[in-house]
Symmetry: C2
Subunit: 312 residues, 2 copies
Amino acid sequence: MKHYIGIDLGGTNIKGALVNENGEIIKQNTCPTYAEQGVEAVTENIANMIRNLAEGVTIDGVGMGCPGTVDDKAGTVVYACNIGWVDYDVRTALKELTGYDVCLVNDANAAALAEVVVGAVKGAESAVVVTLGTGVGGGVVIDGKLLTGYTGAASELGHMVIIADGEECACGRRGCFEAYASATALIRMTHEAMEKHPESAMHQIAAELGGVDGRTTFTAQQMGDAVGDEVVKTYVHYLSIGIANIVNIFFPEVIALSGGVANQGENLLVPLRAEVQQQEYGAAYTAKHPRIVCCTLGNTAGMIGAAMFAKE
Amino acid sequence: MKHYIGIDLGGTNIKGALVNENGEIIKQNTCPTYAEQGVEAVTENIANMIRNLAEGVTIDGVGMGCPGTVDDKAGTVVYACNIGWVDYDVRTALKELTGYDVCLVNDANAAALAEVVVGAVKGAESAVVVTLGTGVGGGVVIDGKLLTGYTGAASELGHMVIIADGEECACGRRGCFEAYASATALIRMTHEAMEKHPESAMHQIAAELGGVDGRTTFTAQQMGDAVGDEVVKTYVHYLSIGIANIVNIFFPEVIALSGGVANQGENLLVPLRAEVQQQEYGAAYTAKHPRIVCCTLGNTAGMIGAAMFAKE
């Protein structure tokens, strides 16, 4: 049995796992990132974690998932704003500290690969994982291989415009999928609806739960609140447009959702599937439709995926 | 040297070529499709062409590009509206008539593959070909392999929505890229601008050339007509949104344009490149940008690509 180390470098924590060739976690470890202590300190922490996980085991590969844009060919993190790394040759640094050549992958892509190897999408010929969190992230796996692109960036599905000249997006474009389908966008829509509708149950829900979040409008909908129902429908409409775009571009076997909004499960998936299928190109002439499901690995996906990327 | 046969099945003509392993055409042939004579007659014509091209040569594979949705695993044309084929097992029929197992591929995808093997995009690690004709077609090649999808459909890049709830599209969705970036869309925008602006030079150009087509507004722009200039800018803006979406999704080495509108060459490409680069995710942090070029193979792309698909 071969063994790999997968590191998930986040803004808050560095998580690492020893993973076997089947994608099963043998042991795992976490430490704070302390990005403010600088690049060398963070790299030293990563190196310590790798050495610790490797103790007494023959390691067949090490992979690291990083936020932002990585260039695995060059071995560099091109740009990761939330840890302040720009064009950093982390592979050379980690090679000197640990002796291992570390493969680099975008963290959302790593998570997608993990879902295909051991998670919700296990065994799928092709799958697209869409993360509905603060932003909208994406990972595409075709025939077991990650789509990473030529230019060093990953599949940035959240930065596909669905409304030309629409809402401003943090990336500088206007009308991105992320600006309509992220948890952040859902919270914006919830606030807008609450301002217009003082009678909505969402005011009471927010007051009881200490503020508005991505669940507020779903809770209101389930309580029979008409305004909450309207916000959910609007959100699902925009989400369906982006997901149907992804279907028409990739025609994957499965689309798997993760991130906070995906915790709504079938409350979200049932209306979403109905709207997406209406928009599938040629849907009337085929019995093969992409399945739409939720991811299952949660926080372990990044580590497992980084390890599986090293195996690849 | 190995040899392949590539068939390009169109609504008007069936084109076929004997192609060597380098993608060079050795001989070629054309006959009318006569789709109205029925499926058997068309299949018989295809079989005759294959036999004719194979005469005296050892054939290492036969591929056929078809309009619409094909299922190469099943060997069927799922749906090709302009020749009236629905769920037709053409592989079995051609096997009986010729003895060859024919590989099936969508025609736009075949053309994209050809551009990568011998055309504008030769040797590219990854490329997306976008056809700006009556509709907007797409073909995606990653590491020399076509993206064909799980559900039997091809990469329908034209049916990605760029304006939610926008212009009606023939596919049934609203606001598709095709509804803003096809030659048909450009002609619609040209007519709309001419109605509003009787002073535009486009009226005279259309009168002299027997009507409005995809060139009218470009010609007017080059003559200094302000309305023509405005229409071109609007068209390029929408085109840039769809192309930038494709960049952010695939991050390919090259995007190559074909179809009637692409004949504008640098008149189109210069403003397009400028607008797309502004919209590339993380463009400020990398020197690697996808090149945007025009295709070079023209009408032979479909045959060459079908042959290369059989080789693959």
